[in-house]
């Protein structure tokens, strides 16, 4: 099967999904990221690796935070960053996705960071670049539909490794709207790849996709049961737009059953860490006492996210086609 992420030498050519990535590449990204962490503390917060390279942020779907972290990561690698607000530009005038890509390639783009509401859009771009023999141009998936958000998955793994050192004796619970979450999918693939023996998904029936068991995940609809003895809790954002549909009764109801409170957190191991990809809805999926508490590592996740994105971009930029 074609794996457009890897080139003929087995190097990472595009980052589209954690699914299908060898463990060695995941570890290489995490190891490289650890060397980038210190750069943010220096007098000059920059290294010259991508000097003269042009990174295009193509956000077909809004995300200020993810776009900003990619922009910072690019700039700390000395790349030139061009942010395209696609919703206000050519796409709304009817230009096709691949025509947009060809035009930007003609402007000598070196890397596309793509966020798209449609699952598979970054794949389509990567495949197009392969078909048109533009192997010097790289694609990073910054979130596509419900499918994948690999850099979030990787920064979550970096955070877990930072606090827990070893993956092979952990129990990790992912809580909330698993059904609509590309973060959850990327996390599940990454955790499995890195050898986490027990991954749990906790949420209401209406927000749990089918097939989780086949991915090796233990499913809980009762949060208190699911949190017992876990080392890591990954809370997911409950997207407000889900409230209006038939999937959930109300934010208050949801918080009662699936909100992470100090009482519920006490069911996990005493040294359990609490993660959240942001932005948080306090009082909906997480209590402020937990979000601001000693076990929360939500802000370190943001800091590590820059280093992980620098690692991904520098590894891609160095791939030799």
């Amino acid at each position: 099967m074609l794996n457009p992420q890897l080139n003929k030498n087995g190097e990472l050519q595009h980052l589209l999904s954690i699914e299908g990535l060898p463990k060695s590449i995941v570890n290489h990204i995490l190891d490289t990221a650890s060397s980038f962490v210190g750069i943010s503390d220096r007098e000059v917060k920059k290294v010259p690796l991508m000097r003269g390279k042009s990174v295009f942020n193509l956000f077909f779907e809004n995300s200020t935070r993810t776009r900003t972290t990619f922009e910072i990561a690019s700039k700390r690698l000395s790349a030139d960053v061009i942010n395209l607000n696609i919703s206000a530009s050519s796409a709304s005038k009817g230009e096709s996705l691949l025509d947009t890509i060809d035009n930007l390639s003609a402007m000598h783009a070196d890397m596309f960071v793509v966020r798209h509401a449609q699952s598979g859009a970054p794949y389509l771009i990567a495949k197009h670049l392969i078909d048109t023999r533009q192997s010097h141009v790289h694609v990073v998936n910054a979130g596509d539909g419900r499918h994948a958000h690999p850099t979030q998955g990787l920064l979550d793994m970096y955070t877990i490794r930072h606090y827990k050192k070893d993956f092979t004796n952990l129990t990790v619970a992912i809580v909330g709207d698993i059904l609509h979450s590309r973060v959850a999918r990327s996390d599940i693939h990454a955790l499995t790849t890195l050898g986490v023996p027990e991954v749990r998904a906790i949420g209401p029936h209406t927000l749990l996709p089918g097939g989780l068991e086949q991915m090796g995940v233990r499913v809980f609809t009762n949060m208190d049961e699911g949190l017992k003895g876990v080392d890591v809790i990954i809370m997911l954002r409950l997207q407000n737009e889900r409230m209006s549909g038939a999937l959930l009764p109300s934010a208050q109801e949801y918080f009662k059953s699936y909100g992470l409170t100090p009482e519920r957190l006490a069911l996990a191991k005493p040294d359990a860490i609490v993660m959240h990809p942001g932005p948080m809805n306090r009082g909906v999926e997480i209590d402020s006492a937990v979000a601001d508490g000693a076990q929360a590592v939500i802000l370190p996740q943001v800091t590590f996210g820059i280093a992980v994105r620098m690692a991904v971009m520098s590894i891609l930029a160095g791939a030799q086609g």
């Binding site: 060397s35 007098e43 520098s314 160095g318 791939a319 030799q320």
Partner: protein, 171 residues
């Protein structure tokens, strides 16, 4: 790879230590910075022998190499760690083998991203010639002439003693 020649690396180290000690006599803001991996081992011992453990740093030049576009990122990047204030320091940059000078150039750039040193000096256990940049060492224990297919390899034993061998690449 085969070993064709051995050096007394410990004697060379003592020679280098003597030179660095003399070179730093009377210098107040001295610091030692080793380039990963071999230079880092040497720097660790130099700092211990010179009482500069609090002024010891390590550099990985992977993010500053000039062959990134050709070779990509090194698969084993180590963190650069410089905990002391680089501004106004006199820094002895330590590498195991001085060859083209490109690593030295990259390491100097790394240091300047931490601050503005008063002076940077270069120490190498061995100088094998073949410079491609205008770089010269201030302290060198030995000069060696090698074929392009040969390389000098520093190794460190568990008791932190050194060995230096010539390896020939038969590839």
């Amino acid at each position: 790879m085969s070993n064709t020649h051995n050096f007394d690396a410990e004697a060379l180290y003592q020679q280098l230590l003597g030179q660095v000690k003399n070179g730093l006599a009377g210098v107040s803001d001295a610091a030692i910075v080793g380039i990963h991996s071999g230079g880092a081992w040497l720097a660790e011992r130099l700092a211990a022998d010179l009482g500069l453990e609090q002024r010891l740093g390590f550099i990985d030049v992977s993010f500053y190499r000039d062959d990134f576009a050709k070779k990509g990122l090194h698969p084993d990047v180590k963190p650069t760690q410089i905990a002391f204030n680089v501004d106004r320091a006199t820094i002895v940059l330590v590498d195991d083998v001085l060859y083209t000078g490109r690593t030295t150039r990259a390491a100097i750039n790394v240091l300047f991203d931490f601050g503005r040193p008063a002076r940077i000096m270069l120490a190498a256990l061995a100088d094998r010639g073949g410079r491609e940049l205008p770089v010269a060492a201030d302290f060198v224990a030995t000069h060696v002439t090698l074929a392009a297919s040969e390389s000098l390899v520093l190794a460190r034993a568990a008791d932190k003693t050194f060995s230096l061998t010539i390896e020939t690449d038969h590839a």
